[in-house]
């Protein structure tokens, strides 16, 4: 290192020298020849990257040499899938762009699942992959995979760079595309020889993206139309999706919802966008939503749709969904408008700006006439109090819902909760009370088992002072738990609650309901093998076990006290618990069941 000798001259001189070398380095960056690899690392630094998750390998190796000297923290994961989900967890928790890096071939293909996951849930991540040298591309070279071709349908955009001069522009564009508009994953694949060749580094002053145009402000006439529809409606509902969190627009939603006074439902991706404790909140709609939230959408005369996409898990059988409702659809992605459901009013633009613009338009309308929502609230409030979420304690064994509810109650609404996919995910969305955005992270669109542990790792890196829980199933946990080693070594003290029902629980639930309890290949035997406590211990974590209701609080409190190592709690729960309410796949929301073969008693409710 050139600067080593400066220590002997005292700290003052050292600082001055450091400043001088920094300035020199900057000047060098601009004028001198550097490798493509150095240019990549400079570009990432200029893009504001502070951390990336990855694993080196042959084709990306040139980049790892300047990474060694970079101020960017590189976290060496144990599997590239972990790097991808960690980037997602980091992005979901912080709102910044998550970055992952891998080598060519299998390194890159291991990123496919997290990229598809980020695409489905609109998460801004940038993936850097090494590619075989330019002349070898297309020759079936060692560790060659056409990752640009493979990821075309599962990224917002992607690049294959074979010329080192194009690296800064590609990185600049990648971060811009990932983080703006409807966010999403961008992959930059760089040939090894482009990393090795000499180039000059210049951070681009202009981006030329002729085909990338964002509409941020909705049309004024559409805002007025929307305000009029709201003022005229008698049964309006705010159908809130994950876009509200992406747009950092929770405050604006709060203002708007209170102004209108209509019921609010938050989808799986939007949990935390609106406080669960707020009296306007009816909970989550969809396949496992509350009776009140599902029915509110179903019987509404107006859906005020904010950053949601009429996903089949929310609508149930589409042709029977909210048949009497007009639709206001606000989204930054024009292609979402009318994709699944016709929109009477389209508000294309940034949700924050859209909601800010709606307030004065609504105040004007409300000055003329205000909707009377009393009878609508009487119906919905009645459903909410008649059909709250609930569960039974089994005669023997531990209730999984109780465990999850207690974690939420003890760790509180300032903690971050990540879930895997399955029953535990639904219970975590139902029984933890979310009050703030970016405190609930899960894989909603793709439904990626194994998401929780690496996503929690990424979230904890982004929010080191916040308790981060992974609520995981025993099936999910066995897919990606190797990242606990990464957590232990890199001092990322996440807490993992394994809701161990020794089954692929959600699949088992469907087998119970739809396959005559024929449990084909859903028994994992995970109360016998593996021993999760020993496994945790072997991976440098604290392992705890909890088997009875009386020990739940004490075990959670013990985990809360440990902040110098990751903690894994094996909660041994009974396996027959089911997620309710449920709208069976492909059926109408009207056929929601609150327990097996038990529909709500609609009674005299005239909806």
């Amino acid at each position: 290192m050139e600067t080593e000798g400066f220590f002997v001259d005292g700290p003052g001189i050292f600082r001055a020298e450091l400043e001088r070398t920094r300035r020199e380095r900057q000047a060098r960056e601009l004028s001198e020849k550097v490798t493509g690899a150095q240019s990549l690392v400079n570009s990432l630094e200029h893009a504001g990257v502070d951390v990336m998750f990855g694993i080196p390998g042959g084709a990306i190796l040139p980049a790892y040499d300047p990474i060694f000297d970079s101020k960017i923290r590189h976290i060496l994961v144990r599997h590239e899938q972990g790097a991808g989900h960690a980037a997602t967890g980091y992005a979901q928790a912080t709102g910044r762009v998550g970055v992952c890096i891998a080598t060519s071939g299998p390194g890159a293909t291991n990123l496919v699942t997290p990229l598809a996951d980020a695409q489905m849930d609109s998460v801004p991540i940038v993936a850097i992959t090494g590619q075989v040298p330019g002349p070898a591309i297309g020759t079936d070279a060692f560790q060659e995979a056409d990752i640009r071709g493979i990821t075309m349908p599962i990224t917002k955009h992607n690049y294959l760079i074979t010329d080192p001069d194009q690296i800064p522009a590609a990185i600049s564009e990648a971060f811009h595309i990932a983080s703006t508009g409807r966010p999403g994953p961008v992959l930059v694949d760089i040939a090894k020889d482009a990393l090795q060749k000499m180039t000059t580094f210049t951070w681009p002053k202009q981006r030329v993206l002729a085909g990338y145009r964002l509409q941020l402000d909705p049309e004024a006439s559409a805002i007025n139309d929307a305000a009029r529809l709201i003022a005229e409606s008698k049964k309006p509902v705010f159908y809130v999706g994950g876009g509200v969190i992406k747009a950092n627009a929770s405050k604006e939603l709060f203002r708007l919802a209170e102004l209108v006074g209509a019921p609010v439902v938050t989808t799986l991706m939007a949990r935390g966008a609106f406080p669960d404790s707020h009296p306007l909140h009816l909970g989550m709609p969809g396949m496992h939503g509350t009776v009140a939230a599902v029915t509110a959408l179903q019987k509404a005369d107006l859906l005020i749709t904010l950053g949601a996409r009429f996903d089949d898990r929310v609508t149930g059988k589409l042709s029977t969904f909210a048949v009497n409702a007009k639709v206001i659809h606000a989204d930054i992605d024009p292609a979402e408008i009318g994709k699944n459901r016709f929109a009477d009013v389209a508000l294309i633009g940034d949700l924050k700006r859209t909601m800010v613009a709606l307030v004065p338009a609504l105040e004007r309308e409300f000055a003329k006439s205000r909707p009377d929502l009393a009878s609508w609230w009487k119906q919905m409030g009645g459903l909410r109090s008649t059909y709250p979420l609930g569960y039974d304690h089994p005669a023997e064994g531990l209730s999984p819902q109780y465990v999850i509810e207690r974690i939420g109650a003890i760790s509180g609404p300032d903690s971050i909760y990540c879930a895997g996919v399955g029953q535990h995910q639904m219970w975590a969305s139902q029984f933890i009370k979310y009050e703030k955005p970016r405190t609930w992270l899960n894989s909603g669109g793709l439904g990626t088992m194994g998401y929780a542990v690496p996503a929690a790792m990424g979230a904890k890196v982004g929010a080191p002072d916040t308790p981060v829980w992974a609520i995981d199933g025993d099936g999910c946990f066995q897919m990606t738990n190797q990242e606990l080693v990464t957590c232990a070594i890199n001092k990322i003290p996440i807490k993992v609650a394994v809701i161990n029902n020794e089954s692929l629980g959600m699949v088992r639930q469907w087998q119970t309901l739809f396959y005559a309890s024929r449990y084909s290949n859903t028994d994992l035997h995970s109360k016998r093998i593996p021993d999760f406590v020993k496994l945790a211990d072997a991976m440098g974590c604290v392992g705890l076990r909890c088997e009875s209701r009386d020990d739940v609080d004490a075990t959670i409190n013990k985990a809360m006290e440990i902040n110098d190592a990751p903690v894994v709690i094996d909660f041994s729960v009974h396996r027959d618990a089911m997620v309710w309410p449920m709208v069976a796949a492909g059926t109408s929301n009207d056929d929601i069941m609150i327990a097996r073969e038990l529909a709500p008693d609609w009674g005299s409710q005239e909806l």
């Binding site: 504001g48 502070d50 640009r148 349908p153 202009q206 994709k339």
Partner: protein, 187 residues
């Protein structure tokens, strides 16, 4: 359903055709024909896509296409407002005056003539090409090749102008990013 023609301006960069094809494939849209070629601007290629879709489905295809970063502009080419042409090359098995007569009637060119085969070329609208083909059938069609349709707007206005006006194509997407843009993307 009627056929609809979209003119799509795309960046002339590697992989663009694959992106468009991949979009059509994964969303289950059927393409009737697709033609790609250069434009007056070497940085821009133009695709003409003929689809058997209409109304809402057509809007959805346009919206999804426009989401592709390399797609610069899209416009429907309405039959009344544009010229649409296809190219046909057909090898016919027999020779003779009758064949020449048919070709002449359609304004088709006989580009090669030998004892047992004739190659006929026609540039025309889709229905004219179909009519010629059916009239050629009695002569024995041995092989035929047909291009996808290409379409150009009537009158003085061009699609490139339109895109340039509406979307500021000639201007870079944003101005100066500035020197101290380290945290540009990170909130």
């Amino acid at each position: 359903m009627a056929l609809h023609t979209l003119a799509v301006l795309v960046e002339n960069s590697p992989g663009v055709l694959a992106r468009v094809a991949s979009l059509f494939s994964r969303r289950g849209y059927n393409i009737d024909s697709l033609a790609v070629g250069p434009t007056e601007d070497p940085k821009i290629s133009r695709m003409t896509i003929v689809l058997n879709l209409e109304g809402h489905a057509l809007d959805q295809v346009s919206a999804q296409l426009f989401k592709l970063i390399n797609v610069i502009g899209i416009q429907e080419m309405k039959p009344s407002e544009s010229y649409e042409r296809e190219l046909l090359l057909v090898k016919v098995g027999s020779n003779g005056a009758a064949l020449d007569e048919v070709a002449k009637r359609y304004g088709a060119k006989v580009v090669e003539k030998s004892e047992n085969s004739v190659v006929v070329e026609l540039v025309a609208e889709s229905d004219v090409i179909s009519a010629l083909l059916s009239d050629l059938k009695p002569f024995g069609v041995k092989e035929l090749v047909q291009s996808g349709a290409i379409a150009l707007e009537k009158g003085v206005k061009t699609l490139t102008d339109r895109v340039r006006d509406e979307q500021g194509l000639s201007n870079p997407e944003e101005g100066n990013i500035g020197e101290s843009s380290t945290a540009d993307y990170q909130n």
